[in-house]
């Protein structure tokens, strides 16, 4: 069990290194910006609470991703309705001034995010972790299935994602 001081340190580590990851995981589950904001806050609070039981069996990043995925699943089930189709803002990829190639990149990213949001949840969480660069072993820890099953799920998720993106182009 993490002591109070080390919980502070671990949370500081999460704040400095995992906020991008947490934001992107929330993005894959919630298109509405204000609801996404609430979801991110929920995830961060859940991580703070859960850090009291962190024993260092996995990296902080793996731990944060695991909590984030679970909070997102709870969020989806609490919403208890089909996800609202909110048009994603063009600032999803970058808020800087946008030359042409950046506009194109933003459009690609929007298509990617919308396609990920359409995936069935078991495949969605696998592909998000895959895109975040987690190894099959780490993904197996997060998802609670074997590395072989992770590989198969990623393959299916990738195929579904490709077809969804093609349909959107």
């Amino acid at each position: 069990m993490a002591a109070n001081g080390s919980r502070e340190q671990l949370f500081a580590q999460v704040s400095s290194t995992c906020t991008g990851l947490i934001y992107r995981i929330a993005l894959s589950y919630e298109a509405d910006p204000s609801l996404r904001n609430e979801l991110v806050q929920d995830i961060l609070l859940a991580i703070w609470v859960a850090l009291a039981n962190f024993r260092g069996e996995a990296s902080v990043k793996t731990f944060a991703a695991s909590i984030a995925q679970k909070r997102c699943i709870s969020h989806v089930s609490k919403r208890a309705r089909e996800p609202r189709q909110v048009e994603l803002s063009p600032e999803i990829a970058s808020g800087a001034e946008l030359p042409d190639e950046h506009v194109l990149r933003n459009d690609q990213k929007r298509r990617l995010v919308e396609s990920i949001q359409q995936l069935p949840i078991p495949q969605r969480e696998a592909i998000v972790l895959c895109l975040e660069g987690f190894s099959y072993g780490e993904m197996a820890t997060i998802l609670g299935i074997s590395a072989n099953a992770v590989m198969l799920r990623c393959q299916r998720a990738k195929a579904t994602l490709k077809s969804l993106m093609e349909r959107r182009s």
Binding site: T19, R105, K109, I121, P122, A149
Partner: protein, 210 residues
């Protein structure tokens, strides 16, 4: 993960976030830390406040009815606080292994919440008369010759009407929350089915689609 197009997608997915977004995330993180610290003590402070106030009131105006009502309030508050803490604890310590057991424990939590709401609907109308009897007895030096008459008088007063309206509003809120919880339960059951189907495909992958 050697497929180049997946690498491209990963680069696109992880592309630099908006700096304002980054700043907002840091703000959210510090707010979460503050909320986490507060949450740990809120229940205890609330219980201490109610129990302390009740004991203080009971000692200022001593009498059999005041003491009984105060005792019931103290026991009720302590019991409710423990139950609330247990419920929150359970939702925090969700099973962290595979998704199926995670969803199972979520289902258990939703069912526990449903039971909690049902208990609230039963106990709220019981707790309010106890509080009223206690308050009236405080005013009358700890004795009430006819509690039913005191209740009737209270129900006809402005304060009584407002309290009953608030109770009705609270009951409507609880009933609506129960409906939401039932929808959540259905959603969780669908999710469980989706994970089971996915798991079955992993046991017997069949021809690859990639």
């Amino acid at each position: 993960m050697t497929s180049p197009d997946l690498d491209e997608l990963a680069a696109l997915w992880q592309s630099d976030p908006d700096p304002a977004e980054q700043e907002r995330m840091e703000l959210l993180a510090s707010r979460a830390r503050r909320r986490g610290r507060l949450l740990a003590y809120a229940d205890v402070v609330l219980a201490l406040f109610i129990v302390g106030g009740t004991i203080f009131g009971a000692f200022i105006v001593q009498g059999p009815v005041t003491m009984v009502a105060a005792l019931l309030l103290v026991v009720g508050t302590i019991w409710l606080t423990f139950k609330l803490r247990a419920a929150r604890q359970m939702s925090r310590t969700l099973d962290t292994r595979d998704r199926e057991s995670f969803i199972e424990s979520s289902v258990r939590n939703v069912r526990a919440d449903l039971r909690r709401y049902a208990l609230g609907l039963i106990f709220l109308p019981v707790l309010v008369p106890i509080v009223i009897v206690w308050k009236v007895s405080l005013r009358q030096g700890g004795r009430i010759p006819n509690p039913a008459e005191a209740m009737f008088d209270w129900a006809q007063s402005t304060r009584g009407i407002v309290t009953m309206c608030l109770m009705a509003a609270a009951a409507i809120v609880v009933l609506r929350s129960r409906r939401k919880l039932k929808r959540e339960l259905r959603q969780l059951e669908q999710l469980r089915t989706a994970y089971r189907e996915e798991g079955t495909r992993e046991e017997d992958p069949g021809p690859s689609t990639d």
